[in-house]
Amino acid sequence: MSIQSNVEVRTEWGIVSARQAGRSLAKKIGFESVDQSRITTAISELARNIYLYAGIGEIIMEPVEQEATPSSPYRRGIRIIARDKGPGIHNIREVMEDGFTTSGGLGAGLPGVKRLMDEFEIESTVGEGTEVRVIKWLR
């Protein structure tokens, strides 16, 4: 499967399009409805963070595969990358705490995404931008 989709986020419509693209890809890969909802919500959080804090950015969604290793069997899933060239994040540990927010939100977005997905990586450089990469494996 090589059905990557790439959605630009610069308005709230971008958030909605990214969500729709994510849901349809998750469905195609074979996720059931609870995981579809988790994936869609994670995309919504990442896209909204781009819209709120960076202004412009993109969400890339693609199927992933991992060959069998001694410790885990062959598996498939979905990878989501949220990338922006916004202000970046000063203290990553801080933003990963439940309840930390600079915008009067719930501060549940990033820690929530980490719990919604199976793998979570965040990289950010102040003044250069932020990239969040997450994976959900098919069970």
Binding site: I15, V34, P111, G112
Partner: protein, 275 residues
Amino acid sequence: MQSSIVQMIESQKKEIVDRWQKEMESVSKEFGVDTLNMREHRDWNDDFIVVIFESIDADDGNLKGRFRQFVENLIQHGWSLGYFTKGLQIFRRILLDIMTTGETNLSKNMYDTFSEIENWTDCLTNQIVDEYSGNWENTFQLQQTALKELSAPVIPIFEHICVVPLIGTIDTERAQLIVDNLLEKVIEYRSHVVLIDITGVPVVDTMVAHHIIQSAEAVRLAGAECILVGIRPEIAQTTVNLGIDLNKIHTKSSLQKGIQTALKLTHKEIIDIKK
């Protein structure tokens, strides 16, 4: 573009800009800019003329992006399409005028003819642009109003009991509208219990959850009780993963159960009438 034209524009840049700025002031007035925000408007014009000059270098790959940004900015500030077309028409006229001054009679004559035709067709273009964009704006406003009315419906179903059925995507504007409208209607209908039904909301992310919590809080401050119903199983799971505790709000699995609770809270009862 011919390099002689580019050269001429470069060498006369100051005059072009001055004349254009001056003429644009009357365009601004036409679009309802009063002297108060005339200054802000001058800033816009400054940006406008800069992007026009930038566009001379058509090979610049970033140009489209910069132009789009400029246009989008103006759209967001509610500028009409007519402002752009007029601005460009004036720019063209000034260029041609400067180019043909001091030229031979022949080309001056040609310019006059050309300019007369241009004035005539520009007027038509402008009228068409105004009609079209007026039409768009009207349709858009009608749809906005319709959407707003549909966005946050508060339906009184029994004395002191209201239902708020939310259907479809919720963006920040709609979320705020729901909070505001809900409070207003709760007071207007003297509700004691409000049932918010989210069966039709496809995604409940932190933003939506935050606004639901705020609504419930606002309703409580207004002296009523809020019950959240229609939380689908996958939404319940997802919000738990997000770390949001919707149970801080009174919840019921279905609208029916919610109505039963609401009736109890308002000391009402529905009974079967036996024959």
